[in-house]
């Protein structure tokens, strides 16, 4: 496989890998490093890539493991920088500011979830992946994924309701 073919292979999911890494590592720079790391690792596996049924799933699993390792080694001095690059939308400035504010709040809630739930919310609610894929990537069974997802969604709802009724957000 040459470089061009490899790029074609990874381009559909490299953003996904990046977003997953960012969900766990929070900092954009660290997520970029992690993504590069994972893709280079994948490239070095080059010859064996054909053996995998879904390269995407392999990449996601590698990302998950890499980021969790990264977190483990950095837990002691966990410095996180939040970067938000919100895309422009056709909305009034007022609306945009308000949206950004509440979105940031949602992001914060998600980032406060346990890692497992973060991963699941990221893959299901943001990337819209099937339970089967998620279960495979996380090496869990589907029912456990569903349960964790439900728990995470309820936690988000609970925190959102609090901010909504108290008017903090």
């Amino acid at each position: 496989m040459n470089q061009k073919e490899f790029m074609q292979l990874v381009s559909p999911f490299k953003d996904k890998v990046f977003r997953l890494a960012k969900r766990l590592l929070v900092s954009t720079e660290e997520a970029e490093d992690a993504t590069q790391e994972v893709l280079v690792k994948l490239w070095n596996k080059n010859e064996n890539l054909d053996e995998y049924k879904s390269v995407e799933a392999v990449a996601m699993t590698m990302t998950k493991n890499y980021c969790l390792d990264q977190l483990k080694s950095k837990r002691a001095s966990n410095l996180t920088i939040v970067h938000n690059n919100f895309t422009d939308r056709e909305a009034s400035l007022q609306q945009k500011v308000e949206d950004n504010d509440t979105w940031k709040w949602v992001e914060k809630i998600i980032n406060d979830l346990p890692e497992q739930q973060k991963l699941i919310v990221q893959m299901r609610d943001i990337e819209e992946m099937e339970f089967e894929e998620i279960a495979k990537i996380l090496e869990m069974n589907e029912q456990a994924v569903r349960t964790a997802l439900s728990r995470a969604r309820k936690m988000i709802r609970e925190k959102m309701t609090n901010t909504h009724s108290y008017g903090i957000g």
Binding site: Q3, F6, M7, V10, K14, D15, V17, F18, R19, K22, E32, T35, Q36, L39, V40, W43, N44, N85, F86, T87, D99, T102, W103, W105, V106, E107, I110, R124, D125, I126, E127, E128, E130, R146, T147, L149, S150, R153, K154, I156, R157, M160, T161, H164, G169
Partner: protein, 149 residues
């Protein structure tokens, strides 16, 4: 979209039982402008989900380094082999050279005899000059004999 259907979907959603298609339906509903008052609080959640998917990975991927390092490793192995073969070859050549070189043959026995004598004389002369410089060691021998009789 019927409100009670959305309410049911929201219920299912929090139980983790909605399908991808149903979740997409919810996302479109919450991205519209007329969201029911009591569901308004979920709007940012679904809004965030849609927005978070837009983020892209922009840096280039340093693929070359990996491949290059591999190639470099092989190159250094090849270079080492070439150097070792080279050294071996020259060493072999140097040791075997004198045997192969034509040193000249003298056919006339008398001339050969004289040449041999000359060569041996040359050698003994050089050996003698070597020994001369060691002669003074005999002085020690003499003094030693004087003391230990």
């Amino acid at each position: 979209m019927a409100l009670d259907r959305i309410e049911k979907l929201v219920e299912k959603y929090f139980e983790g039982e909605t399908s991808i298609a149903e979740e997409k339906e919810l996302k479109t509903y919450f991205s519209s402008t007329d969201v029911a008052q009591h569901l308004e609080q979920y709007k940012p959640v679904f809004g965030y989900f849609s927005q978070a998917k837009q983020e892209q990975f922009t840096p280039s991927i340093p693929l070359k380094s990996g491949k290059k390092q591999k190639r470099l490793a092989w190159l250094s192995v090849a270079a080492a082999v070439v150097v070792m073969v080279g050294i071996g070859f020259f060493a072999y050549q140097n040791t075997s050279d004198p045997n192969q070189e034509n040193l000249g043959v003298i056919d006339d026995p008398e001339i050969a005899f004289r040449e041999t004598q000359k060569a041996l004389a040359l050698i003994s002369k050089h050996v003698n000059t070597g020994i001369e410089s060691v002669n003074y060691l005999g002085e020690y021998q003499q003094s030693k004999n004087k003391i230990f009789k």
